[in-house]
């Protein structure tokens, strides 16, 4: 009951939440594709490639935290841990694999 009142006095606006989530997922998708280009051009294979992706997304998370959220994720995300740091970590994986494969083949062929 107390939580409910807290939410009523400081409401969370659905539109803003959606907008923030969309911004994060757009950034992630774009960077994932670019990481795929880089990994393919470097000729990374199997495990190193996926490690490259994990490192890249971690760096992107830090960048979002520093620039987009202005080091105050509480103000932008309801649950900063889930929405900013871990959120959508694997959303860009398919596009990463796509561009990775494409550029790996273009570079090696």
């Amino acid at each position: 009951m107390l939580d409910e009142r807290e939410l009523a006095t400081r409401p969370i606006v659905q539109d803003s939440v959606q907008h923030n989530a969309r911004t994060v997922s757009n950034i992630r998708a774009l960077t994932a594709s670019l990481f795929g280009v880089a990994a393919g051009t470097l000729g990374l294979e199997s495990i190193p490639g996926f490690i490259f992706y994990a490192l890249g997304t971690a760096v992107v998370s830090v960048l979002i935290f520093a620039f987009k959220a202005e080091s105050e994720p509480k103000a932008y995300f309801y649950r900063p841990m889930a929405d900013l740091w871990a959120g959508d970590m694997f959303g860009g994986l398919m596009s990463f694999v796509l561009t990775w494969t494409l550029f790996y083949n273009l570079a090696k062929a």
Binding site: N26, L30, M94, L98, T101, Y104, A109
Partner: protein
């Protein structure tokens, strides 16, 4: 598995297979987006009584979620009025049908209309997909065109090397069908940038969204009288509080540090 199986490939494979498939996939996504936009039938004009029934339900639901925004007396008035009318069945579109139970969804033309709309959407999804798969299978099967940068288990050999017919070839060498699958799953950001975020280009994400909603297509077939009774009961049990209760304290608390 052999250390590094090398296969000499003609660079023309890229220009005549990889590129066309990619372009076709992107264009199909765009086509699918516009197709599903065009196929959406305009909402039908509904009779006044039916509309009143729906809006009254909506109104009571809104009161239930936003009751904190109005004062206690205002809430009390609205609640009494809504409960009384809901119990008497004044909002019902068809007061004569009270107590006859659930209508059959098949007999209602409006329901049929809704189901037709969904069918149209599904057809717009399925037809291009199967067409392209048939196209790829007809033109580009029987040879490998690319090497995946990561290993796969041999189970994928059946699917990704269909029609190649070499037993010992590494699974990493795959035919054009696998490129089709990669583009199918990986092109969502491309659509996002071309068509904006709310596009209907990728049927995979759409299916995911649908399964998450768990929407029941027959949801509208509930007996309206039962819905109103449930709504009235829900309204009755609400314990009202006003959002401005204690607002002075909260305000002072907020500016305490500033002094």
């Amino acid at each position: 598995m052999a250390e590094a199986q090398q296969i000499l490939r003609d660079p023309a494979l890229f220009y005549w297979i990889l590129l066309p498939i990619t372009v076709v996939m992107v264009l199909t996504g765009i086509l699918r987006h516009y197709l599903s936009t065009l196929l959406q039938s305009a909402p039908k004009r509904q009779p006044l009584a039916k509309l009143r029934e729906q809006r009254s339900l909506l109104r009571s639901a809104n009161l239930r979620t936003n009751y904190a925004q109005i004062s206690a007396s205002a809430f009390q008035k609205r609640r009494e009025w809504l409960i009384e009318n809901a119990r008497d069945g004044k909002f019902l579109a068809d007061p004569d049908a009270r107590g006859k139970g659930k209508p059959n969804p098949m007999s209602d033309p409006a329901m049929m209309e809704g189901m037709m709309g969904m069918m149209k959407g599904n057809v717009a999804m399925m037809v291009p997909q199967s067409l392209i798969m048939g196209w790829i299978n007809a033109f580009f099967s029987g040879y490998v065109i690319m090497k995946l940068p990561f290993p796969l288990t041999p189970q994928f050999k059946q699917m990704l090397q269909a029609g190649v017919g070499t037993r010992d070839l590494d699974v990493r060498w795959v035919s054009s069908l696998s490129w089709y699958f990669l583009t199918l799953f990986g092109l969502q950001p491309v659509y996002n940038f071309i068509l904006g975020s709310n596009n209907a280009a990728n049927q995979v994400t759409q299916q995911m969204a649908q399964s998450q909603m768990g929407a029941n297509p027959m949801g509208g077939a509930e007996d309206p009288e039962k819905l109103f009774n449930a709504e009235a009961e829900n309204l009755e049990v609400i314990e009202h509080y006003y959002i401005l209760d204690g607002v002075e304290d909260r305000l002072l608390e907020r500016f305490q540090g500033a002094i």
